[in-house]
Symmetry: C2
Subunit: 196 residues, 2 copies
DNA sequence: GCAAATTAATGATTTATTCAAG
DNA sequence: CTTGAATAAATCATTAATTTGC
């Protein structure tokens, strides 16, 4: 075994545990800076990169939602008779509620395993520095020169505008409702560039 | 006015021209490295970051496609009688065809405006180095160690795998076969979107 | 008990949709 | 309205679980 090329990241139990803890605490879409920190901390438990953290949150969030959706659907399908309003509340709200108090930074110190190693690991650039910042733009970095943001610039938690997905899937047709797939056969929907 | 924070990138005509030229040449989804180079070149004509290039291609591709879809749809709606096979080839194929010969790297030297400035600009880290490489992972870098792929593995151009799913397996329903999206059901709806 | 063959999870990409600045 | 930016959904691909035959 040369070195196990292992194309893809395989989270260690510790890493996974911490990530899940963070997720439960409300972390949804950490920005570049936060990802950096998370990565730095997790790096102590094994090889990891910023993108891994990024993807993990993306996937975890998406699949959590998917799972819920599926459950609801299945339930709805099987039990024609809609039970009263006493259906078991879908739990997710719990996490959301917790998020309200803004736990992002706090979580970082959850385990506060004061291992200088972590920081070092990140700083020493394992094999390439972690300064990445593309799609996951860190809105902050640009403000590096700022030092004097206009106000709420730094005030609000930089990344995820607080809790957008709070109401996960309010059956609102937000994204699933209207698409503009004009060629989708079916109704001769008027896709005619509408009112222009 | 502090310094015109200018939240979003505004491409100069030159930059735009070059980008469009590249797009026409077949560039669709440049990887991190390529984006770096493009950024470096375009940086000569004005402020620009990797993410801008990334987003530009994303959006341009998506909207080009959308535009076509819409046009086709409109046509199909207006002209009930389906024209023979001589309908104007949906253009995208053109790009695809061009892509077959793999123009990505070549394009880089399309203009080969040997301005050391560009490279310098990128290298000097305007205010932060451009080594980014997150979501836009460069599939190439990881493959560096490979060296011994199973076959067409390396043959295909690194980025947009032209036709990977082509004939991997004999329709064994391994992973792509079945979906279980239970809630799909109604997704038709008109495309209007009405632009609120 | 084990290894090849399936299936289930999940990491990584790509595509579609949405938001909001100009 | 156009389009840069951001997010979510869909999809692909690889790893881990598991089943199965020996």
């Amino acid at each position: 075994m040369p070195q196990t090329p292992s194309t893809r990241w395989c989270p260690t139990p510790e890493q996974l545990m911490i990530l899940e803890e963070m997720y439960r605490s409300g972390v949804r879409t950490p920005n570049a800076v936060e990802i950096q920190q998370i990565t730095a901390h997790l790096a102590y438990y094994g090889r990891i990169e910023g993108k891994n953290v990024f993807y993990w949150f993306q996937n975890h969030k998406a699949r959590e939602r998917q799972r819920l959706r599926r459950r609801l659907c299945a339930r709805h399908q099987q039990q024609q008779p809609s039970p009263p309003s006493s259906t078991v509340p879908p739990a997710p709200t719990a996490a959301a509620a917790g998020a309200v108090v803004q736990v992002h930074p706090a979580v970082m110190q959850l385990h506060h395993h004061h291992h200088p190693y972590a920081a070092a690991a990140a700083a020493q650039s394992h094999h390439l520095q972690q300064q990445a910042e593309w799609p996951v733009v860190d809105y902050c970095s640009t403000a590096s020169a700022s030092a004097s943001a206009t106000a709420a610039d730094m005030a609000i938690p930089p990344c995820c505008r607080p809790l957008k997905t709070l109401e996960l899937f309010p059956t609102k047709s937000t994204s699933g409702g209207l698409k503009e797939d004009c060629c989708s056969s079916s109704k001769s929907s008027s896709c005619s560039t509408s009112t222009n």
